[in-house]
């Protein structure tokens, strides 16, 4: 059987939308800089790349048209390289990896650039022209439910208290701040230039975050709710890229792969509790890998909201100490289209750094679904 590997991973620094260092950077340009950095790292001949598959949750405006092909042009890839933009909302760039893996399994290519991008500063969530189906909005309003409301629903149904959420969020910041301070994030970050200035560090992490401090925030989505801005991932600008290829290709090009793709899955769920999407998706992916959650050595579980991350950890029986070792999206940020590539790349890199055999990367997805990838050490 063909072995598929994550051969390289880089991402841009992540910064707050609307007020961070990347506000003025076009998303296509941002993604192109990261893709270029990844290629320069690996030294592979770009002409050997089959396709650039770019995940984006709101592919319009500056991240519209077929932004993947435009990113290929901007990154100075040869015209022979194809490009496809993929949308599975928050799971978009993990979907890029899955599509590449599927294509490789079909013999439809050897090497793929799987990237993701979102400028939440420059293209608003919901897009510029939200036009929901009026009939569906009436008969099945949860199809369009706001993400914050789903996080509140999860907190209620799964009895995740506000204190639990705040402790979780504070821990996410603590881990991310430690990783940043100890230089454990620098290796994955591809510095980007914005108007002549170089941005090389993350901007969302708040090292001084405490559970007590978070307790003072007002609910962000429901007057009587428990979810605050501090226990939600922030609106973020960022991009990430992976090189997904066959083991043979990696070896032939002198690359040392980070991890093998063992199995993948997606699964739908009730949209009003979309945050629980990782549960079924992860169970399916674990079953396909032939392992149980107990056998996982580490997990990258996207923290869209603390409430859903906690509920998923409990439901899947994960060991919190193995989840998001360098912090998660609450601290690092969640540029929708880019997060999937980040957590697959991070899980792969951690597997190499920390040792162990199996890693899981999984995310919840607005509208009611989850996506999961099981990685195995090389």
């Amino acid at each position: 059987m063909t072995e598929i590997v994550i051969a390289a991973y880089r991402r841009s620094p992540f910064h707050f939308a609307h007020k961070g260092a990347l506000v003025k950077l076009r998303p296509d340009e941002m993604a192109a800089q990261v893709v270029r950095a990844l290629l320069d790292d690996t030294g592979v001949d770009p002409a050997t790349i089959e396709d650039v598959v770019v995940g984006c949750a709101f592919p319009e405006g500056e991240q519209g048209l077929n932004v993947a092909k435009l990113i290929a042009f901007l990154a100075k890839l040869p015209e022979s390289v194809a490009g496809a933009t993929v949308n599975r909302f928050c799971g978009s760039s993990m979907q890029s990896v899955h599509q590449a893996a599927g294509a490789i399994m079909m013999g439809a290519g050897e090497a793929f650039l799987c990237a993701g991008v979102e400028s939440m500063s420059r293209v608003p969530m919901m897009g510029f022209n939200p036009l929901p189906h009026p009939g569906l909005a009436e008969s099945f309003p949860q199809a369009y439910m706001g993400m914050g409301e789903t996080a509140e629903n999860v907190a209620r149904r799964h009895q995740v208290t506000r204190a639990d959420q705040e402790a979780f969020a504070a821990e996410s910041h603590r881990r991310a701040a430690a990783a940043q301070a100890e230089g454990r994030l620098a290796g994955e970050i591809a510095p980007v230039t914005v108007g002549g200035a170089t941005v090389d560090g993350d901007g969302c992490i708040r090292p001084d975050t405490t559970a007590e401090g978070l307790a003072g925030l007002k609910p962000a989505f429901r007057a009587d709710g428990t979810v605050t801005a501090g226990t939600s991932s922030p609106l973020t600008d960022g991009a990430a890229a992976l090189l997904v290829c066959t083991m043979d290709y990696a070896r032939a090009h002198g690359l040392s792969p980070l991890a093998k793709v063992k199995s993948v899955a997606v699964a739908g769920c009730a949209p009003e509790v979309m945050g629980m999407g990782p549960v079924d998706a992860s169970r399916k992916a674990l079953a396909r890998a032939g392992i149980t959650a107990k056998e996982l050595d580490l997990v990258e579980l996207n923290e869209a909201f603390a409430s859903q991350a906690i509920a998923c950890i409990r439901e899947l029986g994960l060991d919190g100490a193995k989840v998001n070792l360098d912090g998660g999206a609450i601290a690092l940020g969640h540029p929708l289209g880019a997060t999937g590539a980040r957590i697959v790349g991070k899980a792969a890199a951690l597997l190499q750094r920390e040792g162990g055999r199996y890693a899981l990367a999984s995310q919840c997805i607005g509208g009611g679904q989850g996506i999961a990838t099981v990685l195995e050490a090389v």
């Binding site: 510029f128 022209n129 189906h133 009026p134 909005a137 989505f221 709710g225």
Partner: protein
């Protein structure tokens, strides 16, 4: 007025705001009436030294005028802190966020080089002559030749400030005395010295008048100038007499406020507002600089109560501990007003004054009333008005300057001489004589006459020689009050009038209560359109000199009709409004709106239908209909959609204009200045802004005339709207506000109708929605909402309390 003899005093308060009343002989003093120079004249960059309340406020207002301004303070970081604090202040010193970026803060120790290219340097530091003189020496070393330096001192004579100064400095120096807050108070007292260059004073006058919108009143170099000299005397008398005549502070304020055309804070409320601790400072400074036999000085007395309040830190509203009035929480958590007893000094629950004299609506009747309220009014008026009358020519050569200073500096409706005209100068003189008081010369001179009169349609004021002369208006000032005196009336009904303002331009004036929009105004608009079509005039300006342009439609009429289920009548009134405003928009002549103050709801919709607007900077414009459970029904929704659809920077597609209009209308957001109104597209980018209210009508008229040549009315334009899908998107946004507890149940109902209207109803977004269709949707939604209990409850609540009901 009780007096039946003589001419009415000038309608100088309320409807007619103070004009720069500059007597010809004053020009010689060194403050010529500004000629039509470009706004700002020669002043293109300003510096303010001292970032206290006044200095920071002056700097902010210079920035409002679009002029780069340096703000320096002696305390390191003080200017930057003042700048940051102003961003949060309410009422806001800045007219819009962009203005704040024009202010460069700095420290005095290091920032002096920043002054090298400033045309005008305003000193607003501590009121100590030695400190000021030391600063002037520093300024003189760095300022550019010919730059003007002025002090914002309120107490120190110009001559004292210039001791030891070079001749060149003295030639460039004057006093510019602003009132607090500098953005909002329209008075600027200007004092020039014998050495002041005429062109320096002219440059500052032109800048303050045109760029800062101030009425510049030249004053003599006397302590307290005009306003604080008379105002200080008035406050002192009002306190002393209240104590002597044993009034409660509530009684004193009730008498000293509204009945005399003085803000309802009266005297004790005013002291709480400005700070009680200011009193001893002002008194000490006046005592030091005025002759010992000045009536102001003679009336000074130690006031143990005031001393105690200051010692206890109860200096007024600013300190949080209250002053003469305090607020305390009751057992049930209710906020209760308490008041100090002037005799015992103890706090007690506030009482509503019960004085028979308060039921009089005539100042002379009040002053003649035998109860303690009447005796109080009489005593304070005798003190204050006699003092003011005696100050001509000591503080100013003409009575009109004195009146304007008190109107604009203390927000009095009538100045001292206007008050005397209302009371009757002859009666007043008799009252003075009856008490054995001296009669000031101008009161002797006026005799049985009045200080002001209207002669051949022109307002005249009495000079010291007893002859009446026309009040000169500076070039570029056109007041509707003057037009009206001359009687150039074209048409009139119960709520509106149409005046000929010359050069073939007509002015449509609202005259209804609070200028609320009613059927009479609509029919006057219709009449103006038909008269204009027949060639009665070439252009139309819509303007009035009320406190507010218009507070909106008369919702009382709508409620009345709803209560008797006269739905057809209501709908036809809505339709009448739509038709009137549309006919105005498409009339074959240009229409220019010229608002000042609030232009809300229907008043805003009138502006949205004008071909251009020349707005006073202090215009507060907004579509506030949702506050009473309605939506704009006179084309306001349509106009905002059209404007956002034409906005060049908005993303394409059917939704962004709708979302923008929805956000603004659903939150009833009101622009806090004409600049903000531009940001909200309530004004177009090409619309004009006038800083000086007295120049508004003339500039609106000029704008209208400039449009006459080759004028073509706008064509009706269909627009592409998102239809039901867009409405669904807006409903999602409303739902999020509901969850956050920010939208009430009836907000949801109102928003549903607003969303349906703005998104174009049932029409698919591949089709265009015509103006007729949009107006029909507006009407439908308006009528549907008026039939809901929630909307009727809002209307009733607004009429009863003046506040929106959150149901």
């Amino acid at each position: 007025m009780a007096s039946g003899n003589g001419v009415n005093p000038p309608d100088a308060g309320g409807a007619t705001t103070g004009a720069p009343l500059v007597e010809p002989e004053l020009r010689a003093v060194g403050a010529p009436v500004p000629k039509a120079s470009p706004p700002g004249g020669a002043i293109r960059k300003v510096a303010v030294i001292g970032a206290g309340v006044m200095g920071a406020g002056i700097a902010a207002h210079c920035a409002n005028a679009g002029v780069p301004t340096v703000l320096l303070d002696i305390v390191p970081g003080g200017a930057a802190r003042a700048l940051a604090a102003m961003a949060k202040q309410d009422p806001a010193p800045f007219m819009h966020a962009g203005a704040a970026r024009l202010v460069t803060p700095g420290d005095l120790a290091t920032g002096l080089p920043l002054l090298a290219d400033c045309d005008w340097i305003v000193e607003a530091i501590v009121e100590r002559p030695d400190a000021k003189r030391a600063l002037y020496a520093q300024l003189d070393a760095v300022r550019k030749p010919g730059s003007v330096v002025s002090s914002n001192t309120s107490t120190i004579p110009l001559a004292a400030l210039l001791e030891g100064a070079s001749d060149a400095f003295a030639a460039d120096f004057c006093i510019t005395h602003f009132f607090n807050p500098p953005r909002y108070m329209r008075l600027l007292e200007l004092v020039t010295g014998p050495a002041t260059r005429a062109d320096a004073a002219a440059a500052v006058t032109a800048f303050c008048d045109r760029a800062l919108g101030k009425t510049v009143i030249p004053c003599k170099d006397r302590p307290g100038f005009i306003a604080n000299r008379i105002g200080g005397m008035w406050m002192q008398s009002a306190i002393n007499q209240a104590q002597d005549l044993r009034l409660t502070i509530e009684e004193a304020d009730a008498v000293m406020g509204r009945p005399l055309g003085i803000p309802k804070t009266g005297v004790f409320g005013l002291l709480d507002l400005v700070g009680i601790d200011l009193m001893p400072h002002v008194a000490a400074s006046m005592k030091a600089s005025l002759p010992a036999d000045d009536a102001y000085v003679l009336g000074m007395r130690d006031n143990p109560l005031v001393a105690r309040l200051i010692a206890e830190g109860r200096t007024g509203r600013k300190g949080g501990k209250g002053g003469f009035y305090t607020r305390a929480k009751s057992d049930t958590g209710e906020s209760l007003k308490r008041a100090v007893d002037l005799w015992t000094g103890e706090d007690r629950p506030s009482e509503t004054p019960q004085l028979e004299s308060l039921s009089t609506r005539d100042i002379r009747a009040l002053a003649q009333h035998p109860d303690r309220g009447g005796r109080y009014a009489r005593a304070v008026l005798l003190d204050t008005l006699a003092y003011a009358a005696a100050l001509v020519p000591e503080v100013a050569d003409d009575i009109a300057s004195v009146d304007a200073a008190m109107r604009l500096g203390y927000n009095w409706k009538w100045g001292p001489f206007e008050l005397l005209d209302r009371i009757g100068p002859a009666w007043f003189v008799d009252a003075l004589r009856a008490e054995g008081r001296a009669v000031p010369p101008v009161l002797e001179t006026v005799g049985d006459g009045r200080f002001y009169r209207v002669e051949a349609g022109r307002l005249q004021a009495m000079g010291r020689d007893g002859t009446h002369r026309d009040l000169p208006r500076p070039e570029g000032v056109l007041l509707l009050a003057d037009v009206k005196r001359a009687g150039q009336l074209l048409a009139k009904n119960g709520s509106a009038a149409l005046w000929d303002i010359g050069d073939g331009v007509a002015c449509l004036e609202f005259t209804s209560k609070m200028n609320s929009m009613d059927p009479d105004i609509l029919s006057m608009i219709g009449k103006a359109v038909s008269m204009g079509k027949k060639g009665a005039f070439r252009a139309l300006v819509i303007h009035n000199e009320g406190e507010n342009f218009s507070v909106g439609a008369n919702i009382g009429l709508a409620l009345f009709a709803a209560n008797i289920a006269a739905w057809g009548e209501v709908e036809s009134m809505v339709e009448q409004g739509q038709k009137a405003l549309r006919s105005m928009r498409h009339a074959p002549f240009p229409v220019v709106g010229a608002p000042s103050g609030m232009a809300l709801g229907g008043g805003c919709e009138v502006l949205l239908h004008c071909d251009a607007v020349q707005a006073h900077a202090e215009s507060y414009i907004g579509l506030v209909e949702v506050g009473v459970g309605l939506i704009p029904g006179w084309g306001g929704c349509m106009a905002m959609l059209r404007r956002w659809a034409e906005a060049p920077k908005l993303p394409r597609g059917p939704m962004p204009p709708v979302a923008k209009a929805f956000e603004m209308i659903s939150t009833a957001r009101v622009a806090k200045s004409a600049f903000e109104a531009k940001e909200m597209l309530l004004l177009r980018p090409t619309d004009g802004i006038t800083m000086n209210r007295d120049r508004l009508l003339a500039e609106a008229k000029a704008r209208a005339l400039a449009m006459v040549e080759g004028y073509a009315p706008p064509e009706p334009k269909a627009i592409r709207l998102p239809g039901p899908s867009g409405k669904a998107a807006l409903a999602l946004a409303v739902q999020q506000q509901v969850l956050l507890g920010r939208a009430t149940p009836h907000d949801v109902v109102v928003c549903d109708h607003l969303a349906a209207t703005l998104s174009g109803g049932a029409r698919d977004h591949t089709e265009e929605t015509t103006e007729d269709e949009l107006l029909r949707l507006e009407r439908q939604s308006f009528m549907a909402l008026l039939r809901t209990d929630g909307t009727l409850a809002r209307v009733e609540h607004m009429l009863a309390t003046g506040r929106p009901l959150r149901n």
